[in-house]
Amino acid sequence: MIEWASTTELFWDDWLPIVFLGLMGLSALIYVVLDGFDLGIGILSPLVAKEDRDLMIASIGPFWDANETWLVLAVGLLLVAFPTAHGAVLGALYLPTTAMLVGLILRGVAFEFRIKGPMKHRRLWDTAFFSGSLMATLSQGYMLGYYILGLPTGWAAFAFASLVAVGLSCAYVLIGSCWLIAKSEHQLQQTAIRWAIRALIGTAATMVLISAATPLASERIFKAWFSFPNLLWLSPIPFLAIALTWRLHTLLKDTSNETHTAHWYDSGRCWSPFAITASLFVLAFLGLAYSFFPYVVPESLTIWDAAASRDSLAIILVGTAITLPMIIGYSIFAYKVFGGKATPLTYS
């Protein structure tokens, strides 16, 4: 018996995977910005004395848990919308996935244990907080590197993935520093500005290397970038990225020389480095998204090959359409409740 698919069904078969790819990308982007800053704070945490470290950790304390939920959503959407891809990607990245999870476990519980455990164990949990944050960040970058190349094996891929791991660490440190610029005052804020300058240079340098290596490593991406008229469409991305990097660098230099009025440091304007960095993340994300489309496993599986059944996707889409605006709404509310400069956290 032949079943004739109606045009609407064909329409949804074409579009639902794209919608889900978009939702997954959005979750991943929100995750990288939000957990990026709190992982960055974790990596920076050993560089300061105890009081400042407590304040840095207090600045992310009410948020880290909700931030990590975006990772669960991104992986969850991969799982539900593209089940075959989920198995293929996570199976190939078994070891770095395990390393990332152990890192996230260590840093997540350290928030609690360092405060609630005895004083004499605090150094141990601070170390767990730092090393867990670094481990999670490096593994995420490493996985991203392998993913860009389409999950190959060999030394060249290892070197490329390691480069991306370093690049992502710099980027997380950058956005973590920018978060701290907005959330801290006086001495710590000045320190954060200096960290941001160094992290920006590191991020920019690794981004240049990665951008140069990517089209050389992947023939498909080379074609996607350097054919006409794609080149024209894409050109705003690198130019905007260079302009924003330049602007951020100037801004940070100026603020570190204290040439700005005192007002800058405690008004909403001290959020501008964070905003610029987040925009840089968006640009990098758009570049990546363009390079991958329509693959969900680069070079082997497109979103249409890997998609779950239409009915299942539709039922999740309804749920997502209703809940996502609410989630974004109460997340903003939570950020507002803990707005302003960070203060020590209390339960009472």
């Binding site: 939920t69 198995g87 395990t98 209390t346």
Partner: protein, 456 residues
């Protein structure tokens, strides 16, 4: 086979570690809401003291649950790709709804609940506490829907070896869900009740007389006294439901080999799968028939019905089910006895006798053991299936090399053992420092040393 076994041990280790913490937080969230509401409407300082102590335990347990839960969400892809490939169309939306409706809700309002008391109105803070408790329970609901569906699948059809949903209502309210959900919520209430009672008794034995301790102890004991008998009834109903849908599981729980009437209730014995009999059996005649069929002549299924003509074993391993079931029931009975023994004292005098307090301290984590034993019964009892009748466990596993699995398993086991130790130690430390702080406030002259406990 070796790789499959390692993957199964890893999943079992992950989920066993994970379930310890939601089992506490599901019920503790509602207990905190109760403390919060009592504190709002009362001048008794006990309620807010109880809230402030237990909210720290909640925060710690919640963090442990979150990080181990994230590991769970990755395990499907890393170790069991066949699961999502076969039943992804059903499991996917259920997991998706869990994240969207529950996980975000609890994580989103947790910060306000923990640290926001000074930053929002009392009403919003109470609302945040409610939303966290509600989110935690909703999360349990979705996860139990999926788990129950794996035991008693319904509302789907198979096309080319892949499950497609035909009736979402039937999928969500599948035959075993109501029993499993209520039984698990009961387990959470009892685990939380004995944790409340155990830690409060410990502090009471340290001569800490702050009002908050008596409030927590009273809440814990009364909760245990009410819920523990209910749990027996629910457990019995759940067992009857299992008998209907997964008879092999019940046969293994009872270590009953032959189908027939007048099946005895084996009180003790060692099931022997080689001889297919029980060694050292002590049994009550017709006991199992009475419990399962409510009549001595009731016909109860036996394990030998689940052996194929060519000798293939299609029932779960008998020993783990038989013993886990007895551990769970044993602790359940103990919980009834202890809570009914102590409840009158606490009801009348607001404090327990010394002996009762010591027994309660010993039973602080009794709920954990019973919950794990219960989950082992139901999960091992589903074997050899991953999804009953649709997908067997072996076909869902990823083909990773043994050394790789060994490495990840060893890593997880080390981390989990260390964290479990740290968790229990930290609970003890929290109790100790809170008691010391109370002593200092009562008699500041005796405690001139610097305040060390970082209890804000």
């Amino acid at each position: 086979m070796e790789a499959l076994l390692l993957a199964r041990i890893q999943f079992a280790a992950n989920i066993s570690f994970h379930i310890l913490f939601p089992t506490i937080t599901i019920a503790l969230g509602w207990v905190l809401l109760y403390f919060r509401i009592r504190a709002n409407n009362s001048s008794d300082p006990g309620w807010i003291q109880a809230y402030r102590f237990w909210v720290k335990v909640f925060a710690l347990s919640f963090a442990m649950g979150v990080v181990s839960g994230i590991v769970m969400s990755f395990q499907f892809g890393t170790n069991w790709p066949g699961f999502m490939e076969t039943v992804g169309n059903i499991a996917g939306p259920l997991l998706g709804y869990e994240v969207l409706t529950a996980f975000f809700l609890e994580a989103g309002f947790l910060g306000i609940m923990l640290f926001g008391a000074q930053r929002v109105s009392q009403r919003i803070h109470t609302l945040a506490t409610f939303l966290v408790a509600f989110g935690t329970t909703l999360s349990a609901f979705w996860i139990l829907v999926l788990n129950s569906w794996m035991h008693t699948p319904a509302g789907f059809e198979m096309r080319d070896g892949v499950a497609y949903a035909t009736d979402w209502w039937a999928i969500i309210f599948n035959p075993s869900l109501p029993y499993r959900l209520v039984h698990m919520l009961g387990a959470s209430a009892l685990t939380c009740a004995f944790l409340l009672a155990g830690i409060s008794s410990l502090r009471w034995l340290w001569k800490d007389n702050t009002p908050g301790i008596k409030k927590s102890l009273r809440t814990g004991i009364l909760m245990a006294a009410v819920v523990s008998p209910m749990q027996v009834v629910i457990g019995d109903l759940h067992g009857l439901n299992t008998l209907e849908h997964q008879p092999a599981k019940v046969a293994a729980m009872e270590a009953n080999w032959e189908t027939g009437p007048n099946v005895p209730l084996v009180l003790f014995g060692v099931p022997n799968e080689q001889t297919r009999t029980n060694d050292f059996e002590i049994a009550i005649p017709s006991g199992a028939s009475v419990i399962l069929k409510h009549s001595p002549s009731g016909v109860v299924p036996g394990l030998n019905d689940f052996v194929t003509a060519d000798g293939g074993i299609m029932h779960p391993p008998v020993k783990p089910l038989f013993f886990s079931f007895r551990i769970m029931v044993g602790i359940g009975v103990l919980m009834i006895l202890v809570s009914w023994w102590t409840a009158p004292q606490v009801w009348k005098h607001n404090e327990p006798k010394r002996l009762n307090a010591m027994v309660l301290v010993a039973m602080t984590f009794a709920g954990w053991i019973a919950t794990l034993a219960g989950w082992y019964v139901t999960e091992i009892g589903r074997q050899p299936w991953l999804v009953t009748g649709i997908l067997d466990t072996a076909s869902a596993a990823a083909t990773h090399p043994v050394p790789l699995l060994g490495l990840s398993l060893a890593t997880y086991l080390t981390v989990y053992a260390a964290l479990l130790g740290a968790y229990i130690y930290t609970l003890y430390h929290l109790a100790k420092t809170t008691t010391r702080q109370a002593e200092r406030e009562l008699d500041p002259s005796q405690y001139k040393g610097a305040i060390t406990g970082a209890l804000s």
